[in-house]
């Protein structure tokens, strides 16, 4: 036994099997996120101190298989093979057992110590499915532990088992497939024996038969003769089975998974439709489903913004004298003014984050954990397809309504680079809470609530057309949607809070620092007295083309920091918060339209920059500025006909 008593475990499994719930339960506050080396995919790490052990936990990305189809899959299998964690915990959605076992077999092929966590056994039981975990343990010769992650049940058993695996020398056995395939694997393993690669021989043999891109390349470098042997084996296999050997191997796993499932599962079908099944039918109904979706999202949106306005004005009354206090106590010197710029940015961030973004994300993750967001993806897939992306993209749009930063970051769930970019660009056109503050504060309050909602409809049309255009411009076929539809379940408070915090964390750690720094920077420009020059420089656009007061030029510069600044500073420059005295309805609507589209805020730009490079980020900004100016000018002229 080593003195340090360290154990490393990784969590592997599909996205919605409860992996992150288990990760959060095990590591609690001792977690940190980073990126996988050279990738924009997040890496979640945490530490657990238990029974004198220091246990490092890594949460692998949620994946369906261990091929080379996506970056996530490659990262996961490379990590398991090369880092050789002491234990791999495979978290399985028990309501989705058979298909999950296909992944388990792939894990076992890697010849690493695996513990199976049969999660959500309670939900499976509700559906009339009982799983004989002892029998499963015998068949695959790896520990199997039934868990209910949302209640924390079974989770300490997993850790105890992991310690046992680490300390003892528990044997594990690889899954065996059909006889003639096993013969091929065995033959090939003989050839692979002397090749110097960090992978198990048997696994290399299987991957060669599966024509795995990465493994074939590695073998070609080491000993190309082996490829000839593999080629012969493949030809034999394909002759017998009549289709591609890569599919033959997949089919073998599927067949084995299905055999195992039949051995261990007992299903008692319900006669009556359960409440959840009824809900399923209603919420995905051809007509009622869409109606309900608009109702639910609309209610959520209106609810959050009424609450937000109330709370925000409460904050307003608390903060209102602070500036005066600062000027009196700290002074109005150059540094003091810059100091106030920083403080003001923090206060403004609080006024956006707590009243609007926080409640918005809590409700969103209630819907997500309940299972409703997957239904929205289902209902909206066709609409999203017209923009060249698939149904999952709608999730990023909805997140973007809260704040564009987590919205853009969430595009990482899209499968291809092309999809990720299109979705991110479209998210920057989604009116975030800050833009909504402008829309409701100007148009909603003084022109009419229907006008405010028309602006959202207008944004939707713009996003749709922009999507159509960009998918045409980018070329390529959209990836088809393949998504697991989770059953409805009671939302779990802990999961909701931790997901909300994850989204809010991105706002706090990524958006906030950039906003504060650039807030100070712009104040420097202001103190240098360059603002009038800027506003007169921009006046051909603001005054002549858009018909707005010249001061809006300055506002739009500040708005790059945080969009709601446009409203705050408008009041400061025009000397009143009763905007109807100084702006006509046309001007209010025009200003809102410009604010919606003219450029993503600095924080969002930084995310685009990080994920897609500065060239693309800049191109998006320039295009959106030009587009906003043109479209707002047209809107302005159209409005002059109406009012």
């Amino acid at each position: 036994m080593t003195e340090e008593r360290k154990i490393s475990i990784v969590l592997a499994g599909q996205g919605n099997a409860g992996k992150s719930t288990i990760f959060n339960y095990l590591t609690g506050l001792h977690q940190h996120t980073g990126n996988w080396a050279g990738k924009t995919i997040e890496k979640f790490e945490g530490t657990l101190y238990y029974k004198g052990y220091t246990i490092d936990v890594i949460d692998l990305p949620g994946i369906y298989s261990l091929t080379t189809y996506s970056v996530e899959e490659v990262i996961s299998r490379e990590y398991i093979i090369k880092q050789k964690p002491d234990v791999v915990i495979n978290i399985i959605d028990s309501t989705n057992l058979e298909r999950s076992l296909i992944f388990t077999l792939q894990l076992l092929e890697l010849e690493c110590p695996v513990i199976l966590a049969l999660n959500m056994v309670d939900l499976a039981r509700k559906k009339g499915v009982t799983i004989d975990s002892a029998k499963l343990q015998n068949i695959i010769n790896a520990p199997v532990i039934p868990t209910i992650a949302s209640r924390g049940s079974g989770l300490t058993d997993i850790v105890d088992k992991a310690i046992e695996l680490k300390e003892g020398n528990l044997e594990y056995k690889v899954p065996r497939y059909g006889k003639e395939i096993e013969n091929r694997i065995e033959d090939l393993s003989q050839y692979v024996k002397d090749v110097d690669l960090p992978y198990p021989e048997r696994w290399i043999a299987i991957k060669l038969l599966e024509k795995d891109r990465d493994i074939v390349t590695s073998i070609r470098e080491k000993d190309p003769r082996i490829l000839r042997e593999a080629g012969e084996a493949i030809t034999k296999l394909e002759k017998i089975h009549g289709h591609d050997s890569s599919v033959v191997i997949s089919d073998e796993r599927t067949l084995l998974a299905s055999h195992i499932t039949r051995e261990i599962v007992d299903i008692k079908p319900h006669r009556k439709l359960s409440l959840n099944e009824r809900l399923e039918i209603i919420t995905t109904h051809k007509v009622i489903g869409y109606f309900l979706m608009i109702l639910i999202l609309g209610a959520m949106f209106v609810g959050v913004f009424s609450f937000g306005n109330w709370l925000s004005s409460l904050f307003e009354s608390v903060f209102q004298n602070w500036h005066e206090w600062w000027n009196n106590e700290v002074g109005t010197t150059f540094t003091a003014t810059l100091g106030w710029a920083a403080v003001e940015s923090v206060l403004a961030l609080i006024q956006i984050a707590l009243p609007y973004i926080l409640p918005f994300y809590i409700l969103l993750y209630v819907l997500e954990d309940w299972g409703y967001i997957a239904r929205i993806s289902f209902l909206m897939d066709n609409f999203m397809h017209k923009m060249g992306i698939h149904g999952k993209g709608i999730i990023s749009f909805i997140i973007g309504l809260g704040c564009n930063v987590p919205g853009c970051l969430s595009c990482r769930i899209m499968e291809s680079k092309r999809e990720r970019f299109i979705t991110a660009v479209l998210v920057t056109l989604v009116p975030c809470s800050a833009v909504s503050v402008i829309i409701f504060g100007l148009v909603g309050k003084y022109v009419g609530i229907l006008w405010a909602f028309s602006l959202y409809l207008f944004a939707l049309i713009v996003i749709f057309l922009a999507g159509k255009l960009s998918s045409k411009f980018m070329g390529g076929e959209p990836v088809e949607l393949i998504m697991h539809m989770p059953d409805y379940k009671t939302p779990n408070l802990k999961t909701i809070l931790s997901e909300t915090w994850d989204a809010l964390k991105e706002f706090v750690y990524i958006a906030a620092p950039i906003v504060i720094i650039s807030g100070v920077f712009i104040q420097v420009i202001n103190l240098a007295g360059w603002m009038p020059a800027i506003s007169s420089f921009l006046s051909p656009v603001t005054e002549k083309w858009l018909g707005l007061p010249a001061v809006t030029g300055i506002l739009l510069i500040f708005g790059i920091l945080r969009k709601e600044l446009i409203l705050v500073m408008l009041a400061a420059y025009l000397g009143t918060t009763n905007f109807i005295e100084v702006l006509s309805p046309q001007q209010m609507i025009t200003l809102s339209v410009v604010s919606m589209f003219y450029v993503p805020c600095v924080a969002t730009i930084s995310v685009l920059w990080k994920d897609f490079g500065w060239k693309k980020a800049m191109a998006v900004c320039i295009l959106e500025i030009l587009f906003a100016i043109v479209i707002a000018g047209i809107v302005r002229r159209a409005l002059d006909l109406v009012f």
Binding site: D244, F378, L379
Partner: protein, 81 residues
């Protein structure tokens, strides 16, 4: 593309109908991808519901529910049960 008698596109099944996957009219990548997800030839697949305006289809495969894009459902050939 050869379409035999009794063999239809998954998309052509009605809600509630079950078929057995016969072939996939797509590239090797797609066939392999679907096989890894448990949608190989010989697999029973049931249409739970389709959406209007050429939306995706919801299916049941191996005891779990999946949503497949319409383009995919177009490429999967099944024999009606």
């Amino acid at each position: 593309m050869n379409i035999n008698k009794g063999q239809v596109r998954l998309l052509d099944l009605e809600d509630g109908q079950t078929g057995i996957i016969i072939s996939i009219n797509g590239g090797k990548m797609l066939t392999k991808r679907l096989a890894d997800l448990g949608l190989s030839t010989g697999t029973k697949i049931k249409i739970l519901r389709k959406t209007p305006f050429s939306g995706p289809v919801q299916v049941e495969v191996r005891g779990s529910k999946l949503v497949l894009g319409r383009g995919l459902a177009f490429k999967i050939m099944v024999e009606i049960q």
